[in-house]
């Protein structure tokens, strides 16, 4: 059973993908049943495994390919953190997507690739070796391309093309780094960090840089972030998935794996590559926020906000102290919850009120109260207002920075918080305190018919409040992150 469960969890998304492609467009009930059924089944399996792993169980499946190419699926606490996030948000996003796309064209293609994308994310989380990680990392690249290009118009195709222009060279860099490193150490397993002592430092530094470039394009580290704002051309559920669990998170998760399970915190510091990485992350945090300020489109502003927020995770990993690490891992979940809320809401504004620009938000609070409350919660959480999720992450990152003797990071966090407030507060202000724009008519039923869109947003907004309020409990993301770190992440 212990060898079977990781494969089973992977299959809960992989098999539906294979089936959904061949369902005729008109068979809505069948397709939706498979979608939701698979997502629920996966969530149940993950919940079961969470209990077991908290009790000390471990799961591992090995699928040998060619020699040296071993597909290793392994459940550790870090993997579970990421899987729980993706399983929960997959279910919510699927519900949202079913209602959002309604009767639009090519639904089977969309949901097929959607499931494939989640399967890739799951595999990525479960990967126990570098090469398994690479396999799923690439599967993720390939399965998100059709999602970004889904609308098949000029803007979507251009965005999808730009996405690949960043993602594929990055993959080449990652593959290069893996093969180079493994030519000295043999296959790298995450449970058993490789012995790097015999390799010249300049080579290790180069390999580290290649790794970071490889995963950094997905994590939208500046200057590899250009694709993310353009990818806004995709339908709202795709943006939600991309920004919260799938692509950028895969990149951030990759940074965590490379730092702790490939190089190890102490080797990274001995090589002197931790400070450059922290500086790069800090620069990305500030640059993303700065660029978000002058974005006139709601989704673009959110996209630059993601560029900034995801680098909190990278920053925490680069600092490599216990508290910073806890903050980074908690933020992996927190940012996902808050950002998916914001994108759900942005999609509702667009779909139900035709609002894309920030001017259009004026006065919508009255007309669309549920959506606007959720949006406001997400925005305030991103700023880091207590007791919302973002506050918890920032506090831990700040404390972690002081702990490892890098007080300048606190200044970065403060500057970023001010910038976050500067680009999010005006949106909240417009929603609640400005009158509806002239000539704008929002039907009184803007929300009443959209329960399938609003319910997921309400759940995630409530969750981002809940994980902040209940941060001290053991089952919160923060509690789980502490468990991961306590279980010997930073020896």
């Amino acid at each position: 059973m212990n060898a079977f469960l990781p494969v089973l969890i992977l299959m809960t998304s992989l098999l539906p993908a294979g089936v959904i492609f061949f369902i005729p467009q008109a068979s809505h009930t069948l397709r939706n049943t498979i979608n939701i059924g698979a997502a629920v089944a996966k969530l149940a399996l993950v919940a079961w495994m969470l209990l077991a792993v908290a009790g000390g169980a471990s799961y591992e499946s090995v699928l040998p390919l060619a020699p040296g190419l071993v597909l290793l699926l392994r459940v550790d606490a870090l993997a579970l953190l990421f899987i729980s996030l993706s399983a929960t948000l997959w279910l919510l996003t699927t519900i949202y997507a079913i209602f959002y796309l309604g009767n639009k064209a090519e639904l089977s293609r969309f949901f097929g690739f959607f499931s494939l994308c989640v399967a890739a994310t799951t595999g990525l989380a479960l990967s126990g070796s570098l090469i398994s990680f690479f396999l799923f990392f690439e599967l993720l690249t390939l399965s998100t391309w059709p999602l970004v290009a889904h609308k098949q118009d000029q803007a979507s195709l251009a965005a999808a093309r730009q996405y690949l222009m960043f993602a594929l060279p990055a993959s080449a860099s990652l593959l290069w780094a893996i093969i180079w490193l493994e030519s000295y150490t043999g296959p790298v397993l995450f449970t058993d960090p490789p012995d790097l002592s015999g390799i010249e430092p300049w080579k290790l530094r180069t390999i580290f840089a290649l790794f970071i470039a490889g995963v950094g394009a997905k994590a939208a580290l500046v200057p590899l972030h250009g694709w993310l704002p353009s990818a806004m051309a995709a339908p709202a559920p795709v943006s939600a998935l991309l920004h919260a669990v799938a692509v950028v998170k895969a990149g951030a998760f990759g940074v965590v794996r490379v730092v702790f399970d490939v190089f190890g915190a102490s080797d990274m510091q001995a090589l002197g590559v931790d400070v450059p990485l922290a500086l790069l992350a800090s620069f990305t945090i500030l640059w993303g926020s700065w660029r978000a300020l002058d974005q006139g489109e709601v989704k673009k502003r959110l996209a630059f906000s993601t560029v900034s927020q995801v680098s909190y995770i990278v920053l925490g990993a680069a600092l490599a102290g216990p508290l910073a690490m806890v903050g980074a891992l908690a933020h992996l979940v927190h940012q996902g919850l808050m950002k998916i809320t914001l994108f759900f809401c942005a999609g509702i504004y667009d779909e139900r009120a035709g609002v894309k620009k920030i001017e259009g938000l004026n006065g919508l609070g009255q007309a669309m109260p549920w959506t606007s409350v959720c949006f406001s919660l997400g925005a305030l959480g991103m700023i880091g207002l207590p007791p919302l999720a973002g506050f918890v992450s920032k506090v831990y990152l700040g404390l972690g920075a002081i702990e490892v003797g890098a007080p300048w990071v606190v200044a970065v966090l403060i500057a970023s918080t001010l910038l976050n407030a500067a680009y999010f507060l005006p949106l909240v202000y417009r929603l609640w305190f400005l009158p509806l724009g002239e000539g704008v008519e929002v039907s009184a039923q803007a929300e009443s018919g959209a329960i399938g869109l609003i319910a997921p947003a309400v759940v995630t907004a409530a969750a981002s409040l809940g994980v902040g309020l209940l941060a001290a409990s053991a089952v919160s993301p923060l509690g789980w992150a502490s468990l991961i770190v306590a279980r010997g992440y930073l020896e």
Partner: protein
Amino acid sequence: MTPLIWLVIAPLLGALAVLVVPARRMPAVALGAAAATLGAALALAAQVAGLGPRTVLLGGWTPPLGIVLKADGLGTAFAVMAALVMSGVALAARHELAPDKAGARAAYGFWPLMLLVWAALNTVFVSRDLFNLYVGLELLSLAAVALVALAGSREALAAAMRYLLFALTGSLLYLAGVVLTYSAHGTLDMAMLLARVPATGDGVALGLMTAGLMAKTALFPFHVWLPPAHAAAPAPASAMLSALVPKASLVILLRVWFEAMPDAAGDAALLVMAGLGAVAVIWGGVQALVQRKIKLVIAYSTVAQLGYFIIAFPLTGGDSAVKPWSAGAWTGMVFLALSHGLAKSAMFLVAGIWYSACGAQELRDLKGLARALPMSAFAFALAAVTLAGLPPSGGFTGKYLMMQAAFVAGLWPFALVMVAGGLLAAAYLYRPLAALFAKDEAISCAPVSRVRQAVPLALAAAAIILGVLSAEPFSFIKIGKPDAAVEGL
């Protein structure tokens, strides 16, 4: 009789049979022969996997008097791949080359030629005698040239003529090398050549044979005949010309260099070969990037892909032969060759569907086809994943193994070429994929049955499966390979 004999005889008998039956029965008879050959290939694979290499002494005579047929892992793997591709080609040709569509000449010429090509391929895959290989290669070239000329257009005839000139020159060079070898050693059997006392002329003989085989394989710089020839033939013919025909001369090249005369292959020569391969990867990729016609993109992609195979030479031969990475590089190259065959045939068959159903020839004609013919578009995308060397395809497994060997062997520049080649492939295959995915409401295509679209999809999927289930093929390919180091890294 054993599957090994049937593998060669079934397509040959089929080729004769289709000539004597009434024209309307030709496809049915050809499909019967195809089924028999496919069965023989699979049965042989089962035998080789279970019992090791199979040998047949023709007429019971041992070499040097008689001719020996020997099926090892390498030859059998290629024979199985060829059988899968040929079966797909035969199914596709029933529609593409129906007399009312393609004209009587192409319709009736195709079947015997196809079966002859298959018989010649299988002969090459299981022969161990330099002259026997020459006969197989000659038959292959002549049938292949005729296939190119099948369309009968001016373009096709010109391309076929150019192909013929290269092929004949190649034959002469190869034959000259064979003659030199025979005069020096008195035998053409590979096992006996391996045990020979090296002679001074061996290097020249090897060089001549290599040049001839390179011309036939279309390895850079002898590639110029390939793109027009492969683009001019009817799509099912292009599929086998691009996916299979170069593999025959490649297999001979491998056998001559690594089984008959591994001692004559010096390190410098191996590096020169790999250098040519590197140039081919880049040059073919750049050429594919600027083509406007779909079939030319696919054809130049073959020029590039062929380069990978000879990049493996210094990684697996010469000084490397006894090193632990040799097996990985060797198997990686064979993985690449096998998955290239599957993926490339899928691409040409898909291009054939697009042309015959929608009249699409240029990249810009592909607009909207992803919606009109989703299965074929998906097949093309899967094949592209393989050719770009992305996981989880057989193309990735092959590239990964070769890159690993290049790093460990200290020849990392070749790994760089492989990465660059992969990115180039992604770029030139992205153009047709983006066009397919673009919106076009005005597109009108004749209906294409699901079965017809399923054939290329199955071939492209097979290339992916080769990567996912790579452990068994990996050990299969090494059956009967006399390696100093078989364990791998």
